[in-house]
Subunit: 690 residues, 2 copies
């Protein structure tokens, strides 16, 4: 039976990838306009390609080195190490390394497909929106679906195949680590890239020279638009992809740890949930349509809710007919509901319909400092509903499962995380829509399209921002539940090696671990944000140099050298990743080997606690400042050009690296730290037993 | 022998209070200048008195209510509650309530003395500095010493008397809770007050009307100067006072929990350390002198180091001759050294001699957003050295003590916290110096003194800022060690009731507790900062009303109504305390009673971890922005009036509530939460056993 489900999973994954490719070709068949729009789009496309080339070259090297390390380390029979003699089984090492490389590859392919379609869809959406709003919406949304579907498809294929061949979820852990390690670098690198270009382009263009945003005379304008793609499309997709796989693998490991013949049944269950989620997403995507006079934001939210309900019904049918314990149904539904509720409460803090944004906009009349203090304070308050949601989901799913007598409590937590993320196909589709329409708006401006078209593109854009806020709350909460489950999985893997793991806060080594872990997310945030400002200053020098050496650029008679800025941003972003990558992969191993597995447990706990808090703070404060500025730009409190507007621009600029660089990488950071700890747990256990 | 030491403690305390009173009368004998300076000083004094009156009225009510609750709750014999029958011993309840009230009273008296002398010393220091720098310095420093010495004196008298009479450190816990509850309200209230007035005065005065800082035509100018006293003098003093008592009581409880006849010996040991610290401070204060051409900052630092060395020598002599285990010597010295080292590394992030401040000043040329991002990022990085210091002190003192076989490991942590704080007499003296010279400078400006005098007052002021940065790092680290020790004390108190406490991060209830605890410090920060902006806007309305209704104010022909602004600030601050006070006292009890003692342990852990991180971030980022502005004002990067300066003013204003409202209250918050948990631990344990 489980074998059949794995085969169905592979089928669903292949179907999902095929639909994604179909949508890709559909998008490519759309009109890409005249020579002017085509040229602008080509600049962005080539810039993105040049960054991706550099990124993937660097990632290949990282993957090869890590794969090599994994192949060697896992060749030792670690179960035996504690007994004083070591067997060498090179097959196990090779299999683990292969799983790792495959995970990295799948993540890279999904990101690449998403980027490729995004840089083709932006111009096509701009052209389509000049026809009707609905057509522009459709191009952008289907393009977003390419990444969403490719991603979940590849993930489920990868996990199912590995489980079918090896029956061992610890090998899937290697796959997940590959996906997450790549995601972290793609996400942090993209986040640094996009804000470097954004800030440099604005500071020289808007502030020093006084030319408008997206003006083609600005040498950094292409890098800025490339940034939207590499940061928001590829980066954000990688973020949910890695949570998606990690949540499934955590639940699998916890399922496998349960005693009894049912172990494998519950090991495969997370894959079944993902499979059903794919079917629900494939159907849900068909129902996302903007009617006459309809609002694109409503269409996206309707699609999400519809998919969730459909998925919920499928799970009810599955559990009732498949002989599963009822508790896994509750865990799934609790996760799903919590995700949706947290997503929508996030909107309270970041939407112009509620007090946090309007009050921040209002106080902006008294200067930028008050904008910052107020937005930052509401960002801190926004932690509250999400934490309550996470705590509730954790406790309810744990105790219901524990009470069932069939599955373990921590398995319930794992399943609630999978329940949240199973509909990722739909979530990523509506999230990737955002940067595409953002780009479409930029292209419409750069290519000099009609005012009316730009206004319609604005409508699409603001719907993207609402969808983005919701998915951000969703993805942070899902990551929190996932890492809590991974944390439990880490404990299981350690104890399976015969060590007793006591992560008691009454042990000073554990407290030391927690303190060290707790400082990692803030330090990581600081490093990535400082990279942004440092790199931006390098790019500012380059822009000034171009204006100085060729006065024809500002006169509009000669083209600036876009590629120089593009490659500066790319090089800066990649070289800034060394220290953050060490924090993510090296520090947990260091703590594990030096202070021991208990302290490493504390370390993971500490990193999870502050990681979630800083991720929520940064995402929500950033979104709030962004929308406060937009609210003022609609004419409130003096509108564009007023003192309030100037202050809100400062808030928005501070929020940029908060919400697009540091904040969204934190999910991935804590996931990678949890995965690397679980993966190397046998080695650490053996080292301390030895 | 222990009895003798307690008597010596009482003697040292009385001596300390007598010296404090002597210094008070010395300060009062100094020249308070002419009618003009006297009038300005009187406004500030009366404003401070009116706030203190309101504050103490509110605090008295809170103390009476809490005292009543304590008297009733502790009348039940909680040891028996678990056995199914309850004895009522009303004496115990009354004793505990009396200890609580005494603690609150001592804290209030020390704060009141500090404030009283500060509002007399400010004008006298201003007058004295017009004579020589050294005379101005002496007046301010001796005035600061009044609070420092009164505080440690009253604390040691209180603790020694209770221990002498009852032999029971749990009663001292009541004393400590009284002191801390009052400190939290004084500190948070003062922090809200001072920044409300500061921001309102600046926004209307400097920004809207364009009159200089400290201009007597501004109706909020008196409230602003009152704020410096109630926020910095009374608030900061209360902060160290409560850590001082809490660290001693935590070590006492851990000492009492150790088996064997030596228990009482080690229970009294913390008091002996405090006693030696008083002697060292009394001597050290004599050696703080500014020579010819000497620098006041060097004099303050020399005094601190000298006192620490003296104290270290005394402890060595004590341990070697008193038959104590050597490990307590190491713990004391490790705590002392770590405190000093962390204090000085804090300077790296907040002094204009190092990269964080100079880089933030430099990038300010590109606008306020970059100032904020850079300063915030360095603030996050500043967490690193302090956490490493805390972790090192915790681990080394724990394992050395554990290895001794004589004292418990956690007792070592407690002693290292006491070692850090034993020299508080000296630390508070040089810290309280800061706001006094700040005020002296304001009075010199408002009273129209010579330019040369104001320049000299500036020199005194900047020395105060350096001392302040060091003591802030010191007090946060000390609070962290203290709450870690209190955390252990909580566990001991619970287990003494026959419950097994398992604060394992593998238990979902504990994880839920940690998450709830971890969100408390950020939420508390948000609430206090939002209170500042809300109250500031109320005051802005009042200032505008006065200018509108009486044009004579701006013309300089009629005096503004200072008292209205003073009482607005006071009322706003006090009414803003309700929710933060609930978070501090109500939430831990709620978690304890609903989720149980294990979850409460997790809650305390979570609050400690994020509390320390946010306290460090906010204190250091705030200090960094402040000094970046001052650095630019020395003529760097364009100097006053440049774009860089404007941006740095935004940074400074954002930093104000960070470093003076939210940040410094967090220490006290986590101390109060730990104390209330330990105090009510028997009740919570009984409730869950029942």
């Amino acid at each position: 039976m489980e074998q059949t489900w794995l085969l169905i999973g592979i089928f669903a994954g292949i179907l999902s990838v095929i639909v994604a490719m179909g949508l890709y070709f559909w998008v490519m068949r759309q009109d890409d306009g005249n020579d002017r729009t085509r040229e602008v789009a080509r600049w962005i496309r080539e810039g993105a390609a040049s960054y991706l080339k550099k990124l993937y070259l660097a990632l290949t090297m990282v993957a090869v080195v890590l794969g090599f390390v994994i192949a060697i380390v896992f060749s030792f029979d670690l179960y035996q190490l504690g007994n004083g003699h070591v067997d060498i089984e090179s097959t196990r090492g090779l299999v683990m390394a292969a799983a790792f490389i495959t995970g990295a590859l799948c993540s890279a392919i999904a990101g690449y497909m998403g980027m490729t379609v995004a840089v083709q869809a932006n111009v096509r959406s701009a052209v389509a929106v000049s026809d009707t709003l609905n057509r522009g919406f459709r191009v952008a949304f289907y393009a977003g679906s390419v990444m969403g579907l490719a991603m979940v498809g590849l993930a489920v294929i990868g996990m199912s195949v590995i489980l079918l061949l090896t029956k061992n979820p610890e090998i899937v852990l290697g796959f997940s680590f590959g996906a997450s390690a790549l995601a972290l670098l793609a996400k942090a690198g993209g986040g640094i890239y996009t804000k470097t270009a954004d800030i440099a382009a604005d500071l020289v263009g808007k502030v020093e020279i006084g030319i408008p945003e997206d003006d083609p005379r600005n040498p950094a304008v292409v890098a800025d638009n490339v940034g939207d793609n590499v940061g928001d499309v590829a980066g954000m997709g990688a973020d949910i992809f890695d949570s998606y796989v990690a949540s499934a693998v955590a639940a699998m490991l916890l399922g496998a740890a349960m005693a009894g013949a049912d172990g494998f049944k519950y090991t495969v269950f997370p894959i079944i949930l993902c499979t059903l989620g794919i079917f629900a997403s494939l159907i849900g995507i068909q129902f996302v349509r903007v009617g006459k006079n309809g609002k694109p934001g409503v269409a996206l939210n309707f699609g999400t809710i519809f998919t969730c309900v459909l998925f919920g019904l499928m799970v009810i049918a599955l559990v009732l007919t498949g002989g599963y314990d009822l508790s896994v149904l509750w865990s799934t539904l609790i996760g799903l509901t919590t995700g949706v509720v947290i997503g929508f409460t996030t909107e309270f803090f970041t939407s112009e319909d509620f007090k946090p944004v309007t009050e921040t906009a209002k106080v902006s009349g008294s200067g930028a400092a008050i904008t910052i203090i107020t937005g930052f304070s509401y960002g801190l308050l926004s932690i509250f509903p999400s934490i309550i949601g996470i705590v509730t989901a954790t406790l309810v799913s744990f105790y219901l499962s524990e009470a069932s007598g069939v599955v373990s409590g921590v398995y319930g937590i794992g399943i609630s995380a999978v329940g949240m993320l199973a509909v990722s196909g739909m979530i990523v589709s509506s999230d990737a829509y955002g940067p595409i329409v953002d780009n479409a708006r930029g292209i419409a401006e750069m290519a000099g399209m009609d005012h009316e078209v730009i206004e319609r593109a604005d409508v699409l854009d603001s719907a993207g921002n609402t969808a983005k806020a919701i998915t951000k709350g969703f993805s942070i909460s899902a990551a929190a539940l996932t890492v809590l489950a991974l944390f439990a999985a880490y404990s299981e893997v350690i104890e399976a090696r015969g060590l007793t793991l006591a992560i008691s806060l009454r042990t000073p080594l554990v407290v030391a671990g927690v303190l060290l872990g707790a400082m990692t997310p803030p330090i990581f945030s600081a490093l990535t944000m400082l990279s942004v400002t440092h790199n931006a200053f390098d790019m500012i020098e380059e822009i000034r140099r171009q204006f100085r050496e060729d006065p024809g650029i500002l006169a509009g008679t000669s083209l600036p050298d876009y590629t120089n800025c593009v490659s500066l941003a790319a090089q800066g972003a990649l070289s800034s990743l060394v220290l953050p990558a060490f924090l993510a992969v090296g520090l947990p191993l260091l703590v594990g080997f030096v202070l021991g597995p208990d302290a490493l447990g504390g370390f993971l706990g500490g990193a999870i606690f502050t990681g979630v808090i800083f991720a929520l703070l940064m995402a929500n404060a950033g979104g709030l400042w962004d929308n406060a500025k937009k609210f003022i730009e609609t004419g409130q409190f003096g509108g564009v050009g007023s003192e309030a507007h100037k202050a809100s621009v400062v808030g928005d600029t501070v929020g940029d690296p908060f919400k697009d660089t540091a904040g969204p990488s934190l999910n991935t950071l804590i996931t990678v730290m949890s995965l690397v700890s679980s993966l190397f747990a046998p080695v650490i256990a053996a080292f301390h037993l030895f």
